[in-house]
């Protein structure tokens, strides 16, 4: 008996040692001598990697991305790696897809346990880059991009590169995939317009309202062509804002109003907000906005957009194919961007929101840089990586367009890669299934009638005021959203809303934002 007991005790102790305090075989040193990994080369230090890239054995680059793998990921990767080999890049690409539901957690796990991967997608709207950088998750890419990524700096304007920096160091490769000077983004349906006897595109807010009312009143068919609005996430409906005298201005994180002179205010205290609310309230009273606007879910919102039962939206459509179900004759010419103040410029709020970072645990941080550099090197590489194999995944439609070849069941090409993760607006091939209006506004860099926002190169770090940030966002959803969507009128409700924001600490936010922006501008 005693023997059994002692055996048991020993086993327990051993196990606990094993589990809790075992030897560290997951390295944390970025450029230390690497441990063996299947096929990868072992560069002793960074400068030798260049020779390696011309050597026989390519360096592994495991790219971790949210979403689902395309049906023929294998075939796509084979083609990409084949071409990279021909071009002597020295990188062997692998992709790992993590379902959206588990993205944040799995990524955190992989970073926390030093798992070996070389590149991953950062979505600033979801989790900011500084979150990772300031907690030692990322490799510093300043040098690698200097050495191996000349094409990266070629295709990305300074604005985009700056948005991938934290405290002066470059921590990611930006994906400058679209023109960001698009707000307010207003799209109108020409086919509906013609159907209901309207002869020209409205040029003022009043004309737009009148036209919308006409369409609404005479609408044929089930349902009503409400102005699609995701009420719960709305803090401001910007339709006529370009006509206001305050324009141009940008609102960051729903609350920081920054004009071109660098003044920072609480957006909900401004006249611009008031005017927007009054316009929206007008539409709500006229019945143009659904009474259920505050409970619309994002699925319902997408479904409404895809059903095609709308005349005018804030935003654009990326693909007209779903609309063909209910509107079989619709074409990409049936959409038009409405500009209610064509003489005033658009503002660029920021450089890039999506970027690709390298974890500190990667043994070859330069692999990601080499990959991106190759993608941006010429159009053929870009096409291959993003759109797949010509004739199998897509057809080229010059100039600058493509026609995706969709699998009949999945409605996606066998291989394709999302533009918004690594694309670049200078090289993008727009889809023939997207409305021309969308392609023209999103994928063409504006050269005139555009200004960079005052704070466009600056990224706010909310860490010091985290509680207030959360509370303010919560209060915006609770008390501002109904006013912004027009459900409740501005005058009777704004004071209460503003006081709840104050209680939530909005003043601290504004102060902190001003402080950080001042420091940023001083360091520029």
């Amino acid at each position: 008996m005693k023997k059994v007991l002692s055996l048991f005790l020993t086993a327990t102790v051993l196990l606990s040692m094993l589990a809790a305090c075992g030897a560290d075989n997951t390295t944390s040193a970025p450029t230390a001598s690497p441990k063996g990994i299947k096929k990868s080369e072992k560069p002793e230090d960074v400068s030798e990697a260049e020779q390696t890239s011309k050597a026989k054995k390519p360096v592994d680059c495991l790219y971790v991305i949210p979403g689902d793998a395309p049906k023929d990921l294998k075939g796509g990767l084979k083609a990409i790696n084949g071409k990279m080999k021909e071009d002597g890049v020295g990188v062997s690409l692998k992709m790992k897809f993590i379902p959206w539901d588990a993205w944040d957690q799995k990524l955190n796990l992989m970073l926390s346990t030093g798992e070996k991967f070389d590149m991953f997608q950062v979505m600033n709207d979801r989790t900011s880059l500084s979150n990772y950088a300031l907690r030692n998750a990322l490799a510093d890419l300043t040098k690698p991009v200097d050495q191996y990524g000349p094409n990266i700096t070629k295709v990305n304007p300074e604005l985009a590169m700056k948005s991938a920096m934290v405290n002066g160091k470059l921590y990611a490769i930006p994906a400058f995939w679209n023109e960001t000077a698009i707000s307010p983004e207003l799209t109108l349906r020409l086919d509906i317009m013609k159907k209901y006897g309207i002869t020209k595109v409205p040029e003022t807010f009043e004309e737009l309202t009148a036209d919308f009312e006409k369409v609404f009143k005479n609408w044929e068919g089930d349902g009503k062509p409400y102005f699609p609005l995701l009420g719960s996430e709305t803090s401001s409906v910007d339709i006529a804002c370009k006509t206001f005298e305050e324009w141009p201005y940008v609102v960051y994180d729903k609350v920081f109003y920054v004009d071109q002179d660098g003044n920072v205010k609480n957006y909900f205290e401004t006249d611009a907000f008031r005017k927007n609310c009054e316009n929206t309230h007008l539409w709500y009273e006229k019945g143009l906005i659904s009474p259920d606007v505050l409970t619309t879910t994002s699925d319902q919102h997408s479904n409404r957009l895809n059903s095609g039962d709308w005349f005018f939206i804030s935003g654009t459509i990326g693909d007209i194919s779903p609309l063909k179900g209910n509107y079989p004759d619709i074409t990409t010419d049936d959409f038009v961007s409405v500009d209610l103040a064509p003489e005033k410029p658009y503002v660029r709020p920021y450089g890039a929101r999506n970027m690709n970072a390298v974890p500190l645990s990667s043994e070859h941080p330069e692999a990601a840089v080499l990959l991106a550099n190759w993608i941006y090197a010429d159009q053929d590489n870009y096409d291959l990586f993003l759109y797949g194999r010509e004739g199998i995944d897509y057809e080229k439609k010059e100039p600058g367009q493509r026609s995706p070849i969709n699998d009949p069941v999945t409605m996606q090409p066998p291989y394709s890669f999302p533009d918004w993760m690594i694309g670049n607006v200078n090289m993008v091939r727009t889809s023939v299934t997207a409305p021309k209006a969308t392609n023209d506004s999103l994928y063409v860099l504006k050269t005139d009638h555009v200004v960079d926002g005052y704070a466009s190169a600056f990224t706010f770090n909310a860490e010091k005021v985290q509680t207030q940030f959360t509370d303010v966002q919560t209060q915006i959803q609770a008390s501002i959203a109904p006013i912004a969507c027009g459900v409740k009128d501005y005058d009777s409700n704004i004071d209460e809303a503003l006081s709840t924001l104050k209680a939530a600490g909005v003043e601290d936010l504004i102060t902190e934002f001003k402080k950080q922006m001042k420091e940023f501008k001083a360091s520029e």
């Binding site: 606990s16 809790a20 305090c21 979150n131 259920d292 879910t297 509680t467 959360t470 919560t474 959203a481």
Partner: protein, 334 residues
């Protein structure tokens, strides 16, 4: 009617006896193992399992008191190289103006869930036990498990189809009856009842299964004895069946109390989502923390709040269990 002797009423006597015996024997554990070799042996695998997966992980809880660093991969690194920040990671939550409200909502909703859930599933089990048509009972038992398998997202759509402002069935009925429809989704106060009904419907079936198993264990001789003593059907249920499954009810309640500080995130997020007007009555700790950590936040903070929830829950079980041991030892957890 003679009072029916409760099964296990000797348990309290046993407890007293074993306690005194414990006091007497000091090297008690070794002796106990020696006396009950088989029992300890067969419990060993599960003990090991729990040890490895739970207890060996507990040292990592210290992360809640550190500034998160992705480069500290092992426990050794965490303990030696970690940057200690005391209660800093808890601050983001407790400083918030809504900390009290979300805690209150979590507790309030969970208490309602426990009370109504227990009542409905116990009643369901008792009723099903009374029916004689076997196929009816069998079918119902399968059917009542179904709601458990509908995801909360689907439930949220169903609720929407009931309470939607324009298309909802409830508002349609109200209009037909001549009353003015209510915009349900901006009225915070109606949601606790709706949530309780939805939660109960979803889970009652599974819990009823548990109570049915408990009922199945009742010795028929108890019922026969009671009938001989003149009990009618109703008394049979209330004086025999119900008391005999009370230990199970108490255990289930105690287990639920352990989780009382953890809200049903899936449910609330699916049904309420980002509809801020309902936060007053439906925002719980878990949804608040989820939103708080979405853009600015890290795993340490998540762990800190989880630790807070665990500690409070444990203290509550500790208290409830102590109380239970005094009043009703058969149902105590430990």
């Amino acid at each position: 009617m003679k009072k029916v002797k409760r099964i296990g009423s000797t348990a309290s006597k046993d407890a007293v006896v074993s306690k005194t015996m414990q006091k007497r024997t000091k090297g008690g554990l070794i002796k106990d193992i020696r006396h009950n070799k088989f029992s300890y042996l067969i419990a060993l695998p599960s003990m090991l399992y729990i040890f490895i997966f739970s207890y060996c992980a507990y040292p990592y809880l210290v992360i809640a008191f550190q500034r998160y660093n992705y480069q500290n991969h092992t426990l050794f690194d965490i303990l030696t190289k970690g940057q200690w920040v005391g209660l800093e990671n808890f601050r983001f939550f407790f400083r918030s103006m809504t900390a009290f409200r979300v805690t209150y909502n979590t507790l309030f909703l969970n208490i309602l869930f426990i009370i109504f859930g227990t009542i409905v599933s116990v009643v369901l089990a008792l009723l099903l036990n009374e029916l004689r048509s076997r196929w009816f009972v069998k079918t119902t038992q399968s059917v009542m498990l179904l709601p458990n398998y509908i995801s909360w997202i689907v439930v949220s759509y169903l609720i929407l189809s009931l309470f939607s402002n324009e298309y909802g069935i409830v508002n349609k009925m109200m209009k037909d009856m001549g009353k003015t429809p209510i915009n349900w989704y901006i009225e915070p106060d109606v949601w606790p009842p709706i949530l309780v009904i939805a939660h109960t419907l979803k889970g009652a079936g599974m819990n009823a299964v548990i109570y049915l198993a408990a009922i199945a264990s009742i010795d028929t001789s108890m019922n026969e004895a009671a009938i001989i003593d003149g009990a009618n059907r109703f008394q049979l249920v209330t004086r025999v069946t119900l008391p005999l499954i009370t230990p199970t009810i108490v255990i289930m309640t105690l287990l639920a109390i352990g989780k009382i500080m953890f809200g049903d995130f899936g449910m609330i997020y699916a049904i309420v989502g980002d509809n801020g007007t309902l936060y007053k009555t439906t925002d719980i700790i878990d949804t608040y923390v989820f939103r708080a950590l979405r853009r600015v936040g890290d795993p340490s903070q998540a762990m800190a709040i989880s630790l807070f929830q665990s500690v409070i829950g444990f203290l509550m079980v500790f208290g409830s269990n102590w109380l239970t041991r005094k009043i009703y030892p058969d149902g105590a957890l430990y």
